[in-house]
């Protein structure tokens, strides 16, 4: 899933204080699972904003709505009939949803209510960790299923570097050394000989480096 974190409320207040009618718009997908931008968080933020502005002596309309997704046009259409009634939207979706909402409502200012962080997993309750950077050319087959691009601080294809210590990364004891994981896994799979192969220089053109990416599926296009 796409993992996000709630923005500090002060930051959101600063962005929306000049408006009168605000829609706090959640998303039922990833940000709900990581408890940053689902219906619950929409409720909390909207309630807090209402109290904040009320205390300032400002009567604002702050409504709550949560869409199935903000990254699909059909769900964004669900607010078409009410959109005109708002001066601004605070979207608690990931950066994708924030932008797509803005694209669909060109005259409506849309502000992000979360910081979009990474593609990752729920490793434990309340802990999410990164797994993928979407580089566009998956190499997991050769690294025992553990991605050095996403999980090595230097994204080394031929790691580990000299800073690996007790299975931890040189950047800090809280960070696991991805290459230690890769080696442990290759050993467990009886595939240590794969470690000896030098990984070739990466073609980054399918990564962010190649510019904004696009997939067109002729078989699916109308």
């Amino acid at each position: 899933m796409i993992v996000a974190e709630k923005k500090p409320m002060e930051e959101i207040i600063e962005e929306v204080k000049r408006f009168e009618n605000i829609l706090v718009l959640g998303c039922n997908e990833c940000v709900t699972v990581c408890e940053a931008g689902g219906k619950k968080e929409v409720g909390v933020l909207a309630s807090a904003l209402r109290m904040f502005f009320l205390k300032q002596g400002r009567k604002m309309r702050i409504d709550e709505r949560t869409l199935e997704r903000q990254c699909d046009p059909e769900y964004l259409e669900e607010i078409r009939d009410v959109a005109d009634g708002y001066d601004a939207v605070v979207s608690l979706a990931c950066g994708v949803g924030v932008q797509f909402t803005a694209e669909h409502y060109p005259n409506l200012p849309v502000y992000p209510g979360v910081d979009t962080c990474f593609m990752g997993v729920t490793e434990a309750r309340g802990m999410w960790t990164e797994r993928c950077q979407g580089c566009g050319r998956c190499i997991l087959a050769s690294t025992g299923g553990i991605c050095p691009v996403a999980r090595c601080a230097k994204r080394l294809f031929n790691g580990p570097c000299g800073g690996s210590s007790d299975g931890k990364c040189e950047i800090g004891k809280d960070t696991v050394c991805a290459w230690q994981l890769i080696i442990d896994r290759l050993r467990a799979l009886g595939r240590m000989e794969e470690y000896e192969r030098i990984a070739p220089i990466k073609d980054w053109s399918t990564d962010r480096a190649g510019g904004p990416r696009k997939i067109v599926r002729e078989d699916l296009a109308p």
């Binding site: 601080a153 580990p160 800073g163 210590s165 000896e196 030098i198 220089i201 980054w204």
Partner: protein, 309 residues
């Protein structure tokens, strides 16, 4: 052994001499006198001098410019290049730039993570890793080709090296990793500072067993300790550093004013012992901000005068 480059380091090793290298860290400013002063302290006692590339991710004068200064003084620089700060265009370009000044040694590294330095908020590049940089330099030199496939007019004549840390984890792949670096094109290796001599010898044995010492010249890395405090810091704070307790206690049991002397003793004793280890082709003495002691270490270890080649 015939040589492939004009590198003095390569010639020394090819002639079967034990090589001695040291390093100079460029200053955090633009005054060339700083690097020249350091170089003058060691110039007669070493065959080549590494010039570090923004080590520990602290922004400094660039390695290439400092190498040019050393070259102009008649020293033999080893250009350290980390893959942290430059993509493949910049790396290849800087290799050509170095070659334009006839700098003919390069050490390929990934570099410390930027979070250790003064620009912790910066991006890191790591377009290539250290092994891929080794391959790149070898391709540029041996095939006369850029990574993109075009021919290079006057290919760089670089003797190509890499670092190895015999002590980092996991230990079981440390020799495999050395083997990969050799396959990628490393011709010389400079190791991380060695304090745990037993473990280093174990690593060397494994390297010999795989025939790696026939294919690459291993220079044993040594850093004299100035104090017990430094020993403790290296032991506890520097990732991938193995400082045995007896080294720390030997310094700690010495009166403070005598500790630097004992630190030098430990370094010289290590060289004496490692000279007899088969496959150790020389020594890389990294006297960090203590360059004035390099001459003493080299002389006491019986590595002076340096051979003419």
């Amino acid at each position: 052994m015939s040589t492939k480059t004009p590198s003095r380091l390569e010639k020394i090793l090819a002639a079967g001499h034990r090589a001695v290298t040291s390093e100079c860290g460029p200053p955090r400013g633009s005054d060339p006198a700083v690097i020249e002063k350091k170089a003058a302290l060691i110039r007669d006692h070493v065959d080549a001098v590494n010039v570090t590339d923004n080590q520990t991710s602290m922004t400094r004068m660039c390695s290439l410019a400092a190498c040019i200064r050393l070259k102009q003084m008649g020293l033999e620089p080893i250009l350290q290049m980390v893959t942290r700060d430059r993509n493949r265009i910049a790396l290849q370009s800087d290799i050509l730039g170095a070659a334009a000044f006839d700098i003919c040694n390069v050490l390929c590294l990934s570099g410390d993570h930027q979070s250790f330095g003064d620009c912790a908020q910066g991006q890191n590049v790591h377009d290539l890793d250290s092994m891929q940089l080794l391959q790149t330099v070898r391709r540029m030199r041996d095939d006369g080709k850029f990574l993109g496939g075009d021919d290079i007019a006057r290919p760089p004549q670089m003797f190509v090296g890499a670092a190895a840390n015999p002590f980092a984890d996991p230990f079981e792949i440390r020799v495999l990793r050395l083997a990969k670096k050799v396959s990628a094109g490393a011709e010389f290796i400079q190791t991380q500072c060695i304090y745990n001599l037993d473990k280093f010898e174990q690593w060397m044995t494994q390297a010999r067993d795989r025939g790696l010492t026939e294919r690459v010249s291993v220079l044993a890395g040594l850093t004299p300790m100035k104090s017990a405090g430094m020993a403790r810091y290296m032991k506890n704070r520097v990732p991938g550093m193995d400082v045995p307790d007896e080294v720390v206690s030997r310094l700690a049991d010495t009166p403070k004013e005598k500790q630097p002397e004992v630190g030098i003793d430990i370094c010289v004793e290590a060289i004496e012992r490692l000279k007899d280890v088969e496959g150790v082709a020389g020594f890389h003495i990294m006297a960090i901000e203590w360059e004035e002691k390099v001459a003493e270490i080299v002389e006491r270890a019986g590595l002076y005068p340096r051979p003419e080649v």
